[in-house]
């Protein structure tokens, strides 16, 4: 009876993913980073999704009559050089930040995890070739690599997603490879192989569920890095292009009229910092929950 029971709870990806929220919430009472981070992230996501309902003005609508007007009245955060409502633009800027962050992380994980799994599970020459290619990407400072990709593809927010995604590939590849290497030599995996299980099946059944937790942490942490990178690229004029509002682009516009309209330089920066802080704290909180080896003393 016990035997059949054990056989029924095969560790599929689905059961592991279902187990993650449970493990996160188990000791929620003491997990301040997760509460604060989750709340911050929740607020940012909600404001971005509800932007069309909350914004009283079209973020791209020009009104030269009220250009550079100080905060107050109908425009709680003032207007910019072209008379656009800063509040509406900050709200809509969140959509760009979240979209670029999410797509970049998906590109990084989507390309990096298969590369790492293939390298780690097969070993040998394939491993050597793939990981040398990853080292080649890591030989550049992250932002420089992203700028180089944009220099090749041209500026734009789709190109920025791709550029940041490429930067993230090696980190995901290394994570997946390390995990694949460990699991490959486990006895139950050897047994599965001996029973004639296909390599892809073994990866799907045994390797992927084991990396689900670390992968989730990695995705949260790289998400905040991707948002920061998008802001930097847009600040440099290489990411999101006007008139689409982005936090980095708004700060670039603010830099030009810094002493005439200082209000323009405040809220986009607050928004970036809050979004990044929220994601970082969420990542820390999840890590505290998923990795019992990390005690409070070693954070």
């Amino acid at each position: 009876m016990a035997l059949t029971d054990r056989r029924r709870v095969r560790p599929t990806l689905a059961t592991h993913m279902r187990a993650i929220p449970e493990r996160i919430t188990r000791r929620r009472r003491r997990n301040l980073p997760l509460i604060v981070g989750g709340a911050l992230t929740g607020v940012i996501v909600a404001l971005s999704i509800l932007a069309p309902a909350l914004a009283r003005f079209d973020p791209a609508a020009l009104d030269p009559a009220i250009r550079l007007s100080a905060p107050g009245g109908a425009h709680p955060l003032g207007t910019d050089r072209l008379g656009r409502d800063v509040f509406s633009r900050v709200l809509y800027g969140g959509r760009v930040a979240l979209a670029v962050g999410a797509v970049a992380v998906l590109i990084g994980a989507g390309a990096g995890v298969p590369i790492g799994l293939a390298a780690g599970y097969n070993g040998g020459r394939l491993d050597a070739v793939l990981m040398r290619a990853m080292d080649g990407l890591l030989a550049f400072p992250a932002l420089l690599l992203a700028i180089m990709v944009i220099a090749a593809l041209g500026p734009g927010h789709v190109q920025a997603m791709l550029a940041i995604g490429v930067v993230l590939i090696p980190a995901f590849a290394r994570l997946a490879r390390a995990q694949a290497l460990v699991i490959r030599s486990q006895e139950y995996v050897l047994a599965a192989g001996a029973m004639g299980a296909h390599a892809l099946d073994i990866i799907r059944r045994h390797v992927v569920p084991n990396i689900a937790g670390p992968l989730l942490i990695q995705m949260t942490v790289t998400f905040s890095g991707a948002m920061l990178a998008e802001a930097s690229l847009s600040y440099l004029g290489l990411g999101t292009q006007p008139p689409t509002p982005s936090w980095g682009g708004m700060l670039q516009e603010a830099r030009d009229v810094l002493f005439v309209a200082p209000w323009m330089a405040i809220w986009p920066g607050v928004a970036i910092a809050a979004a990044v802080l929220g994601m970082n704290l969420t990542g820390d909180g999840i890590r505290d929950r998923l990795d019992p080896r990390l005690t409070r003393n070693s954070t």
């Binding site: 420089l144 090749a152 600040y235 810094l258 330089a265 910092a273 003393n297």
Partner: protein
């Protein structure tokens, strides 16, 4: 020293890899470079002329080998927008970038070491929690926004710090410092946030070791234990991670040069991108990447100096 020599030899393959990736990204991916440089409305005969002038009509392999051999001789080609050798342009701007990075690193170390060590020694005290929370915020604030806030707060009201520009160290050390102060603080604070967390975690780890208890048992004071025994051990993981994070320092420098109008490599690269001058972009990219490799080398050498157990396999 065999370790130093062997580590120096590993720089060459790194540079080769970096040069290859740069070549692939900027010469193969973009498609017809002559067309890109001249824009879509260029006359076909101009495109053909430029292609011939830069040897773009020759096979890829030939161009690749030429790029590598020229690089080895320090020849980075001729800029199309400046009509000057790129190597000369870079030579003028490299000191600016290195000054910013160096000054920021100094700020980061000066801020992070005392904070991290004190926080670790009083773990979970109010001071420690403040450092932890402050470093989380410091990591979240983008460096270019910090730069803008510093300009707004410090350069606007009082003319102690200039709004932009750069003065060479050789022409006036005081002016050099004055122009570097704000960018160095903006970037240094962000790096200090990362570094102080590392120092704190590492010192805390060492404080729980047996040798610390032994030292305490023989009557040594807390300060002496930290200075004589803990720090030397704690610095090894700190250096490892700090070395890995050198890229953030250089990336931050690129953005801050733009905020503070500093004529460094980052600005040269961006002007190259805006002007579609890929020869300049290529030269700036490879120089920054080589600087990155050399910084990592420096960290590794420091590593060996701190830990006598390390030998390079």
């Amino acid at each position: 020293m065999p370790f130093v020599l062997r580590r120096l030899l590993t720089v060459a393959p790194t540079v080769l890899v970096v040069a290859t990736v740069t070549f692939i990204a900027l010469q193969i991916i973009p498609g017809d470079i002559a067309q890109i440089m001249l824009g879509t409305d260029a006359r076909p005969e101009d495109v053909i002329r430029l292609r011939r002038e830069f040897g773009l009509d020759r096979p890829m392999v030939v161009r690749y080998l030429e790029w590598i051999t020229n690089l080895a001789r320090g020849d980075l080609g001729t800029s199309i927008s400046y009509r000057e050798p790129v190597a000369g342009l870079i030579r003028q701007r490299l000191p600016v970038t290195i000054s910013v990075a160096f000054a920021a690193m100094t700020v980061a170390v000066v801020v992070a070491l005392p904070l991290g060590i004190t926080a670790a020694r009083r773990a979970w005290s109010a001071l420690d929690l403040t450092v932890l929370a402050g470093s989380q915020v410091g990591l979240a604030v983008p460096t270019f926004w910090m730069g803008i806030l510093l300009l707004l707060g410090l350069a606007a009201a009082r003319p102690i710090f200039p709004l932009q520009g750069y003065v060479a160290l050789t022409s006036s050390p005081l002016e050099w410092l004055r122009h570097l102060a704000l960018p160095a603080i903006a970037l240094g604070i962000e790096r200090a946030a990362a570094l102080s967390r590392l120092v704190r975690a590492s010192v805390l780890d060492e404080l729980n070791r047996d040798y610390v208890r032994t030292a305490r048992g023989k009557g040594l004071g807390g300060g002496t234990i930290v200075r004589r025994h803990v720090l030397r051990n704690a610095f090894i993981p700190v250096l490892t991670v700090a070395g890995l994070q050198m890229g953030f320092l250089l990336g931050g420098t690129i953005v801050l040069e733009q905020v503070f109008g500093l004529p460094g490599l980052g600005r040269l690269m961006l002007q190259g991108i805006y002007a579609r001058d890929l020869v300049v972009v290529q030269g700036a990219v490879i120089t920054i990447a080589i600087t990155f490799a050399l910084l990592n080398l420096l960290v590794d050498l420091l590593y060996a100096a701190v830990d006598p157990r390390i030998t390079y396999q």
